[in-house]
């Protein structure tokens, strides 16, 4: 256990942009013993993935290692020839990518891709490797392990693909696996299955691993030690338990504190108050496939309704019904007690103004060829008729509201902004219309935790100032805890439970709500083990859902 497997000393990595080399990693040390799991955490842009890849002696195009050493089991990876590396990678060092769906070749069956490594490296014959693959699928608790390998990547779900990828990484029984955010793209309930499967198999084979993630709760379950990175520098490294209970540095403490944001409970809604938006018995379908069944709930001014559920549960479809992009088959939508035309093309300018939307991916929600000033200025001019200096003044005001300096940002393009800043511009564009009601569609799910917290605080502040009503679509229950007043739980296009937040987080729950709630990782390193014990190992995830 104490034998050192990987030793990185003073690793410096540079990336090329604008004709110069800019530092990405400024001299990081990393030591990994055999069978040890090291968690690598940090915001996006901290250099986690770059460092993880460098541990394999690999850099992406346009990136180079400019200093330091990487030594794997006595072999200097930076000086090793291509032939030596070819022999090591895949056989003794393996990699599991973030998006399994994008990393599998869609034209080949899973097992065909699985056997490639072992047969190339002459570890096993094809038949042996296939049998071994099926065995690994069984160990990773994939359904139908005997047959699943003979499917194509698009025929299995995301969580299953991620496990199949882990099996592939395991196929040569490597000494080291680099996991690059393997569960970030998954739902909470699926995440549990993948986490427990990865943890078991790593333990079983005594494989060392570098686990890269930005989710602290996840890393707490997986890692023996945690290393925190910030903009290419190491902040601190410590044992998981020490790190969680007594972080030393300010930055680490701030990462830990993110989860503590919670708004005070608001007084109950006065009876008889007219809701800002009321959805009544809405049924909707894409073509002939029914998606929503009898969905009804109200959203009041100055309050936030969080709509939670897994992907495919109909959250976003409900939003499309409210905006009028997908006219419901039956039922109606009331704005201040007045029915809205179901199709957005039939709504008046003022009705359109009242309902605004903030999108999940700020990248695709802002026109990349328009300056920030134009993006925010357009609704100001379109709805309020302001032009010239008046418009400029209003846009400056809005930029100040979202805490961006107008002088600096007015003329910038979206590509010159960070992810969090882009999302703020999206908020300003919605605010520019001076609406009553804003739909926030997973607005924080693409952001780092610190940035996401900033966005949530901003939304809360704006709500208090402007008495806005939010419909907050999310699958992250930590976000719900932070910002929601009321919660609506959806599954398969139906509302399974709804009520005030503090009631929802208290038992008794609908069994589905219970599953969702208990699947949210906590910062306790024993959480996953306890949970699995509670549920019984064979009864997690898919199985639990099916049984309801």
């Amino acid at each position: 256990m104490t034998e050192t497997l990987l030793k990185m000393r003073g690793v410096q990595i540079e990336g090329r942009s604008d004709e110069t080399w800019n530092p990405i990693i400024n001299g990081v040390d990393l030591t990994l013993a055999r069978g040890e799991v090291l968690g690598l955490i940090g915001e996006s842009g901290a250099g986690k993935s770059t460092l993880g890849l460098a541990a394999m002696g690999y850099t992406r195009d346009g990136v180079r290692v400019s200093g330091g050493s990487v030594e794997f089991d006595g072999i200097d990876l930076l000086a090793a020839s291509a032939a030596v590396k070819r022999d090591l990678l895949g056989k003794r060092i393996a990699y599991v990518a973030q998006s399994a769906a994008a990393s599998f070749n869609p034209a080949h069956r899973l097992i065909d891709q699985h056997v490639e490594g072992p047969t190339q490296h002459n570890v096993m014959s094809r038949a042996e490797s296939e049998a071994d693959g099926i065995e690994l699928y069984r160990k990773l608790r994939l359904p139908n392990p005997d047959e699943i390998g003979f499917r194509y990547p698009h025929q299995v779900s995301g969580g299953q693909l991620q496990r199949a990828m882990t099996a592939m990484a395991m196929s040569c029984r490597p000494d080291l696996i680099v996991f690059d955010e393997p569960t970030t793209a998954l739902d909470v309930t699926t995440q549990i299955e993948v986490l427990s499967a990865i943890r078991d198999i790593v333990e079983q084979f005594g494989t060392a691993a570098i686990y890269i993630t930005h989710d602290l709760a996840v890393v707490a379950q997986m890692a023996d030690r945690i290393k925190v990175l910030l903009r290419g520098d190491e902040v601190e490294t410590a044992d998981t338990r020490t790190m969680l209970n007594a972080p030393q540095k300010e930055y680490t403490k701030s990462l830990w504190a993110v989860r503590s944001f919670e708004r005070p409970a608001k007084p109950a809604i006065a009876t008889g108050a007219v809701p800002a938006i009321s959805i009544q018995n809405v049924d909707a379908a894409y073509g002939t496939t029914p998606v929503l069944h009898d969905v009804s709930f109200d959203m009041h001014a100055g309050r936030t309704v969080a709509v939670v559920g897994e992907s495919g549960s109909g959250k976003s479809t409900t939003a499309r019904c409210i905006t009028g992009l997908l006219p419901p088959k039956s039922g109606q939508i009331l704005l201040d007690g007045e029915p809205l035309p179901l199709n957005y093309k039939k709504r008046s300018k003022d009705q359109l103004r009242q309902v605004q939307m903030i999108y999940q991916m700020a990248d695709t929600a802002l026109n990349p060829r328009m300056s920030i000033g134009k993006i925010i200025g357009r609704p100001v001019q379109f709805y309020l008729g302001l032009t010239g200096a008046e418009k400029r003044k209003r846009v400056d005001q809005l930029l100040e509201q979202i805490e961006l300096d107008p002088a600096e940002y007015y003329n910038r393009l979206p590509s010159e902004l960070s992810g969090g800043q882009k999302q703020r511009v999206g908020i300003a564009r919605a605010l520019a219309a001076e609406p009553k009601f804003i739909i926030c569609d997973e607005v924080t799910s693409a952001l780092d935790q610190l940035v996401a917290e900033g966005i949530l605080r901003l939304l809360a502040k704006l709500q208090d100032e402007l008495s806005l009503s939010y419909m907050f679509i999310t699958h992250d229950l930590a976000t719900v805890r932070a910002i929601a007043d009321e919660v609506v739980v959806m599954k398969d296009g139906r509302v399974v439970e709804q009520g005030a937040k503090h009631d929802m987080f208290k038992p008794p729950h609908h069994p589905y709500t219970d599953l969702l709630l208990s699947s949210v990782p906590e910062m306790d390193p024993d959480w996953l083990s306890n949970l699995l014990e509670q549920r019984g190992v064979d009864n997690i995830g898919d199985a639990a859902v099916d049984k309801m």
Partner: protein, 399 residues
């Protein structure tokens, strides 16, 4: 013969191995040589061999024996032209880096040599086209009295040239240099107008189909399919024949008909592209946001979609311009395009084409038709270089 080729290939294989081995020894196992696959080493040796062959052929072109020199004449001209153009482009870029505003200096600093070459050529053509009247020594339809027809280009009396007509005269005694300069005005100007019209038509309908979808998209797309199903040159030829009957009756110059006909035929390609690009943009969230804001169709197309489609449309513009250019030249060659006595490069190639037969023993005489063809080729290459560079810039690709 086969034996020799095989032996040469094997010999080069041995050379390649030796080259890699020597590289490894001399540089002390630098990764470039250490990890070099055999195929790459072989490629280096092969390229070196080809370069040697070129150098040998170039010196053959300078041989004192005219029979040998004539064989390699065009290769020699090609290599010399390549070097001269490369130097000119380099000097042009150097000038651009040191003269002008801060913005143009910055532009030239990041410019590849190919783009500088393209811009230089386009500038030269533009100057020639605009000032054709002042630059050309004779008129385009002027048959100079007392001057023989078919004077060989080159101006060397020993080879049948005349120093007063450096590029010679054509079959009825008109100065080829003047006609080339006027040809830039006629051919390039008309091609540019035609391409613009094609883009206006194809782009407008393409984006309309992408934004609207449904039945409008169906109708437009099927109409375009029908147009595209007919071979374009034959279709253009057919329509031009009809137009040549109509033109005198309506009193409209035939050139106008030609511009419209080629524009409509070419706009089908532009339609397909802008529809496909537009469909990718229409599904973006910012378009949804604009729709939900209640924006009209005009705003959606011109403010939201068009700015995001400029890169692929620009690339297509460069390509389309060249195709239109070639179509006009082809139509003129077939006798229905730009009408004599107006100078047109396509017509010039056709009229003098029989001289190509002399290439083997009198290469200077054979260049007569090739001058106009070369003018077309040079512009085509230049436009594509510039478009490539613009695409690279707008896509933000790094090398």
């Amino acid at each position: 013969m086969m034996i020799w080729i095989l032996a040469a290939l094997v010999g080069m294989g041995a050379l390649a191995w030796g080259f890699r081995f020597a590289g490894q020894q001399v540089t002390g196992q630098k990764p470039v040589f250490r990890d070099m696959p055999f195929g790459v080493a072989y490629g280096y040796v092969l390229a070196g061999f080809a370069a040697c062959c070129l150098v040998w052929a170039y010196y053959q072109g300078h041989s004192s024996d005219p029979l040998v020199a004539n064989k390699f004449f065009f290769l020699r001209i090609g290599i010399e032209g390549f070097i001269i153009f490369a130097i000119a482009a380099w000097l042009f870029r150097l000038a651009g880096r040191n003269v002008g505003t801060a913005w143009t200096k910055k532009l030239f600093r990041a410019m590849p040599l190919t783009a500088a070459f393209g811009i230089l050529i386009i500038l030269i053509y533009a100057v020639l086209a605009i000032f054709a009247g002042a630059l050309a020594p004779y008129g385009q339809e002027q048959i100079i009295p007392g001057v023989a027809a078919n004077i060989t280009p080159g101006g060397d009396p020993a080879l049948g040239g005349n120093p007063d007509f450096p590029l010679g005269t054509d079959q009825i005694g008109r100065d080829i240099l003047s006609r080339l300069i006027y040809g830039a005005q006629n051919t390039v100007g008309i091609a540019f107008a035609t391409t613009l019209l094609a883009f206006f038509l194809g782009g407008a309908f393409g984006f309309l189909a992408a934004t609207f979808g449904g039945w409008l998209d169906q109708i437009l797309s099927r109409m375009v399919d029908v147009l595209m199903a007919i071979p374009s040159l034959i279709f253009a030829l057919l329509l031009m024949t009809i137009a040549s009957v109509w033109a005198p009756r309506l009193g409209v110059p035939l050139t106008v008909f030609m511009v419209v006909i080629i524009a409509v035929i070419d706009s089908t390609r532009v339609f397909r592209l802008s529809r496909a690009v537009g469909q990718n943009i229409v599904v973006m969230d910012y378009i949804e946001a604009a729709k939900l804001r209640g924006e009209g169709l005009g705003y959606l197309i011109f403010r939201e979609i068009l700015p995001n489609a400029t890169a692929p449309l620009l690339a297509e513009f460069g390509l389309r311009f060249c195709f239109v250019f070639l179509t006009i030249a082809a139509l003129s060659f077939l006798g229905v395009g730009i009408q004599p006595p107006l100078a047109d490069w396509g017509t010039m190639v056709r009229d003098l084409s029989s001289f190509v037969n002399y290439a083997q023993f009198a290469p200077m005489a054979a260049t007569a038709p090739l001058l106009a063809a070369g003018a077309i080729a040079l512009l085509t290459v230049a436009v594509n270089f510039v478009v490539d560079w613009m695409l690279h810039k707008s896509s933000g690709l790094k090398e």
